[in-house]
Every structure is written in C-alpha cells, then in structure tokens.
C-alpha cells in the first residue's frame, strides 16, 4: 500500500496554479509564501551586504573619511539588524515553509492564512526598519542597543524608535510563523511518519520554532520597557530613576543567545539532509543528531550571560556561565563528527550543494573553536568587543548559516523551480565565496588579537591595524562578487537552465517524490511512511552495498481526482490586516496628529491602523477557510 505518486507520468498538471500579481498577494500556499520569504530575504541580504561593503571601505585605511562617524554607526547597526532579522532568519523561514511541509507529507502548513499573515507582517517590519534611512533616522545604537545609549537623553532622535518598533513588528511575524511551524510538525505529518522517522531538517524546524516562541517574549518585554522609557518617560533602564541598564542586557541576551541557535540550527538541518544524499549513506547517528539539536536548544537558554563577562557580574556568575557555555560545545562537536562519519566510506559527489555543505562543516569548526576560547571569561576580557569576536560570529553566521543556506538553495532549487542551477557557475560561486570569506574574516582574528575594538569608525596609523584591514576589505569585495555569480546563475537558470527531473540528486526524503516544482496540492496522494529516508527505501528497498545497484521501478501511479483534494482558499485578509499593523507601527514613528482618549494620547495613525488590523482579522475569522 506504500504508494508514492509519480507525477511525471501524469498526463498534465491537474490543477493549474493561478498566476498574476493578485494570486501572489492573496496566496496561502506554503510554497509560494516560502518563495516570497526567500526572495525578500535575499534582497535584504544584498542590502546588508552593501552596508558591509561601505563599512569595509571606510576601514580600508587608517583615518579614512568615506562616511561620517554618525553614518558609520548607523551602517553597522543596520548591517547587523538587517542580516539577522531581515536576511538570515527569514531565509531559514523560507526553507521551513517550502521544504518542511513537503518533507513531512503535508498539503500545507497547519494555518495557511496565518502563514501569509506572518510574511506580510515581516515585510512591513523590514520596510519600517529601512524607511528610517529616508527620515535621516537610521538606528544607531548597535544591533544589541545597549541601554542607556538608547535612552532619549543620549539618543534623542527617532533612530532608536525605528529600531524598537521595527523589531517589535518583526518579532510578531517570527512568533506567528513559529507557532505555525510547531503545530505543522506536530500535527500534519503523513501517516506512519513518527517523530523519529522525520527528516532531520523538519526536526530542526521544530526545535528552532520552539526556540523562537520561547526566546522572543524576552525581547518583546525588553522592548516594551524601552518603549515606555522613550515614549512615556519611565526609567526602567535609568540608574538615576532606580532602574538598571544591566536589565536590558540580561533580557536582551536571554533572547539574543537562543537567537544565535535560531540562526544556525536551520543551516545544520540543511546540511544534515545534503551530506547523506551526496554520500549515498544515511545520516550517521540520526537519533544522536536529534538529541544533540535538542541539547543545543536547551543549553542555549542557560548561557546568555557569557555576552556579559566584562560587566562585573562577580566571579561565581562568570564561572557558572563559562561552564554552561563550554558544555554547549559538546553537542555541537558531536554534530561535526557525525557529519564526518556520514561522509566516511560514502560515495561522495561534489555538487555545489555538497561543496557548500562540506564548507559549512569545515568553516563552522573555526567559529566553534574560537567560541570555546572566549567561553573562558579571562580570555573573553581580552577578546570581547574586538574584531576577534567579529571573526568568531561571522564564522558561525557566514561559514555556518550562509553556507548552509546556500547549500540548501543549490539543493532545493530544482524542486522549487524545476530547473537545475548551473554547476560550473555554482563551483565558481562556492570557491569565490570560500576564498573571499576566509580572506575577509580570518585576518579579523589577528586584528582582534592586535586589540582593534569593533564599532570603531576609524583607527590611527600607529595602531598597526592598517595592512590587515586593507586585506580584509579586498576579501570583502571578493566575497561580494561571489554573490554576483550566484545572481547570474539564478537568472541564467531561470531563463534556460537544465530542466530538473523530480529527483535529480537521487535523494532520500519524500519531497523528491513529487514533481518539480510540486503541484499546489504537493502530493496527489499522501505517501504512507514506513521508514526513515522513505524515498531511498522505495527506490532501493533493503539492497545492500554494491556497484551496480538499480533503483526500483516507481510504484504505479494512483489516479486521483484533483477536485477531491481539499485546499485552503486564497485570502486577502492577511495582507489587509498586516497593512493595518504596518500603519499602526508607522503611526508611532512619523509625525501625525494626536488623538486623546481618556488618559491615552495616541497618534491618529495608531488607532486607524489598529482598526484596519482588527476588522481584517474578524473578516478573516468569518471567512470560509475552504
């Protein structure tokens, strides 16, 4: 009865996907929303990249004056904020959206309209953050906005307001998306897909979503207190009023450290899918990998104060957090070794996806090891807030996350578009990224050891940091060029790339069982799951090792009448409601008349936006879901 539908033998697509702008604005299809997340996030990635290049140009030589000090501070704040909240997180969410429901054999996520809503709110938040440039008020207090530099006394402009409102909006989007993913993984799995048969990427989706819903409330609360400080004049972070600036740091890092795992675990999930496929071996120690992911997530909540070793927490707190931080290296190390174990004795094929995946394994190790160095508070007291730290977290977030996401893009691109990205350009892309990345970030270790603090808009000639900085800047431009190669590759592929079969990589998980790109309903009939790596099982059964192993013939297709397939209706209410939310948030930031209701003084746009938002939610609640 195990039946994987083989859509390529179908005569024609049964349900034609709707086209046109309206169909995208009202879509609730997880695949389209995934694509929208991916494209938007990539555009923000380019924006953040341009900001980074300006930063690097300014630092190429001592005492340069490419941008002013104030503009430089805006640039690094926005670079960090953009990359974390607008590029890497939503890119991961793009994969959650597109791949996870296919991997678990669902027709869509649990709440399709909520999914669209998350995307539109995210877009609104991204726009709000970047609108700040046009109001000459780009955030300038650093991506972790330490109080009291964010207070009105020390930062009177609108800059910090754009940041806090933007993050608050993005937080709502992330949380809604995460609830959706949690419920989808728990509740929408195909028959027979037990948790321990679930593809490892879907596992990471679940774990990351749990991290999101547990970590974001801390920053939500912290931002609310900051908003009261700025808008109402309270003193939560003002020592003179009885407040404490360290409360901000603690609440921020209670969120901020799990956030690091939110950023990197999806990439781990992606390479855990890719390495087995291109090694033709199952993932080494699947269950240990699952437990390691859980352990990282769990420990991730107990290490936040290692960002604060120099604030004077006292020796015991420093020692405790040093210990918990070092502990987290253990499950991470297990992952690295298990990936290696997967490759050993495998039959390795180096597609671009595999190159990026192996690149992650090799580069993340560097970030992990430098992380262990400043897990020791005394060492951290020399490295904290220097370029050594910048090197460390770029090895984690670029060598880890971005490499992983690039690997995922090369891997699932044929599934998403039906065309294979060009492998020759892909290899150029990888090697340029690899060389550029190391040229940019490896020397930062040395500059950091030589004592160059981060967030310096300039430095003196005598510091001796000049030559390495020039080298770093050149590396950054090489790295940037690798993204140009990627864009060329995508454009070329979409125009006339090689058409992909349903299963171009001889993969293991069931998203490769449906057509490329998949039909709106994903699977004509929901596959029955009997094994982990179900598709390999279907193709090879219990064939052992050998040199001439043949794939099994695909099971005979099952005829399904598409009109019997139940799909959610498109809806424009998510867009309208998110628009209302956007207006509400904007009302807090730009000049508009104030409305007084009792004790409340609200800028008029706030209630208007709120009304649009609520009315649309009601309309949506009473709209037939389909």
């Amino acid at each position: 009865m195990a039946s994987i539908a083989q859509p390529q033998v179908m005569a024609q697509p049964i349900t034609k996907p709707a086209t046109g702008l309206w169909s995208w604005l009202t879509t609730v299809d997880h695949k389209r929303i995934g694509i929208m997340y991916g494209v938007t996030a990539f555009l923000f990635l380019l924006l953040g990249g341009v900001e980074a290049l300006i930063i690097r140009t300014q630092l190429a030589r001592p005492n340069l004056d490419v941008v002013s000090a104030a503009r430089y501070n805006e640039l690094f704040t926005m670079h960090g904020t953009t990359m974390i909240f607008l590029a890497l997180m939503p890119m991961s969410v793009a994969f959650f959206n597109y791949v996870m429901p296919l991997q678990i054999g669902a027709r869509d996520v649990a709440f399709p309209r909520l999914n669209a809503y998350s995307y539109w709110i995210f877009l609104g938040g991204g726009i709000i953050l970047n609108l700040s440039w046009f109001f000459h008020a780009a955030p300038n207090a650093g991506w972790y906005g330490y109080a009291p530099l964010t207070s009105t006394s020390w930062n009177p402009g609108r800059n910090v307001d754009f940041w806090l409102i933007g993050l608050q909006v993005l937080g709502v989007a992330s949380m809604l998306a995460a609830f959706n993913m949690i419920v989808t993984v728990i509740n929408m799995r195909a028959p027979g897909m037990t948790m321990m048969r679930m593809p490892i990427f879907s596992w990471t989706t679940l774990i990351v979503s749990i991290l999101l819903v547990m970590a974001f409330p801390a920053i939500t609360a912290a931002l609310i207190l900051l908003a009261f400080d700025r808008y109402a004049g309270t003193g939560f972070y003002e020592y003179a009023a009885g407040g404490d600036p360290l409360l901000w740091q603690h609440l921020f890092w209670v969120f901020g450290h799990p956030e690091v795992y939110i950023l990197v675990l999806p990439a781990f999930g992606i390479v855990s899918e890719i390495i087995p496929v291109f090694s033709r071996k199952p993932l080494f120690g699947y269950s240990v990998m699952v437990y390691a992911t859980c352990a990282i997530a769990f420990l991730g909540f107990g290490v936040w104060a290692h960002h604060m070793f120099t604030v004077g927490m006292g020796p015991t707190a420093n020692a405790v957090f040093a210990g918990s931080t070092m502990l987290i290296a253990i499950p991470t190390g297990v992952k690295i070794f298990n990936w290696l174990g997967t490759m050993v004795k495998g039959s390795l094929r180096f597609t671009t996806a595999m190159l990026f995946a192996v690149g992650l394994v090799s580069q993340f190790v560097i970030g992990g090891l430098s992380g262990v160095m400043h897990a020791s508070p005394p060492v951290d007291s020399q490295q904290n807030d220097t370029y050594f730290i910048i090197a460390h977290f770029h090895y984690v977030l670029f060598g880890g996350t971005v490499f992983g996401l690039m690997a995922g893009t090369y891997f699932w691109f044929p599934k998403i578009t039906g065309r294979l990205l060009d492998e020759r350009l892909g290899k150029w892309n990888f090697w340029m990224a690899f060389v550029g990345f190391n040229a940019t970030f490896f020397p930062m270790h040395f500059v950091g050891l030589a004592g160059m603090p981060r967030r310096y808009f300039t430095y003196s000639e005598d510091s001796g940091w000049g030559p390495w900085n020039l080298f770093i800047t050149i590396g950054a431009f090489v790295l940037a060029t690798s993204f140009l190669v990627f864009i060329i590759n995508v454009v070329k592929t979409l125009r006339n790339g090689e058409v992909a079969s349903d299963d171009p990589w001889d993969a293991a998980t069931i998203e490769w069982a449906t057509s490329s790109p998949p039909p709106v309903y994903n699977f004509a009939s929901i596959p029955e799951i009997t094994h982990r790596d179900q598709l390999w099982w279907d193709k090879y059964g219990d064939h052992g090792a050998g040199s001439g192993v043949e794939r099994k013939a695909p099971a005979p297709k099952e005829q399904v009448d598409p009109s019997s397939i139940h799909l959610p209706n498109p809806s424009y209410f998510p867009l309208v409601s998110a628009f209302g939310f956007f207006i509400l948030a904007l009302g807090m930031l730009i000049d508009n008349p104030v409305l007084t209701i009792g004790l409340l003084h609200l800028p008029i746009l706030v209630p208007i936006g709120g009304l649009i938002m609520v009315v649309a939610i009601y309309a949506w609640a009473f709209e037939p879901a389909g």
Binding site: H250, G302, M313, G314
Partner: protein, 116 residues
C-alpha cells in the same frame, strides 16, 4: 493505542470533571484566597517570617488547581502537559537566574565627583 489516540476521542466525551466538581474547586480556590488574605493580617505571620513561604505554597496550590482542573491539564493529552510544564519550568529558571543576577548589584557611587 497511544495517548494521542486517546485524546483524539471527541472532546467533551472523555473524563472531564462534572459541573459539581467545578463548583467544588471554585469553593476551594475561594477558601485559599481567603486564607491568603487572612494570614496577611496576622502579625505573627509577619514576625515569624512564615508569611512569605505560606503565601508561596498557597498560590502555587491555586495555580496548579486551575491549570489541572479548569484547563484540564490533568486529563488532557500529555502533549499539552509537557508543552506547558516545560515552558513553565524554563521560564521559572530564567526568572530565578535574572533575579539572582540583578538583585545583587552594588550601588556605591564612590566618593565625590560622580555627577561632575
């Protein structure tokens, strides 16, 4: 047959407490609240230092009663129990750590010149 399948049975059919039970619980909750307020007014409780632990125990009792009976965590699928208890324990750990870390700061502005 797993727990999940058990919970899959139509809602309302499985062993929820009866209405009488709900009312009994409400009476218990009211009594606990009354005790809480009453002991607040007993000087001995303040002086002996027993008040705070007593209040903690009583309110934890109320808390558990409401989530156990009114929110059906006692009867519902264990999934919900795991989700909520895990979140609760996690939050408590973080709150406890935050309080321990932040209550213990020295505010000593040093002699002279601080506001200069």
């Amino acid at each position: 047959m797993t727990h999940g399948a058990l919970a899959a049975a139509d809602h309302g059919e499985h062993e929820h407490p009866s209405e009488q039970k709900y009312i009994k619980i409400a009476i218990i909750l009211t009594i606990i609240t009354a005790i809480e307020v009453a002991i607040y007014y007993i000087d001995w409780m303040h002086d002996s230092g027993a008040l705070v632990p007593a209040l903690f125990i009583l309110s934890i009792g109320k808390f558990l009663t409401v989530i156990g009976y009114y929110m059906h965590l006692k009867f519902d699928s264990p999934l919900f129990r795991y989700m909520f208890i895990a979140a609760l324990v996690g939050s408590l750990a973080v709150i406890g750590a935050l309080i321990a870390l932040l209550r213990v700061h020295t505010i000593d502005f040093g002699p002279g010149g601080f506001i200069s």
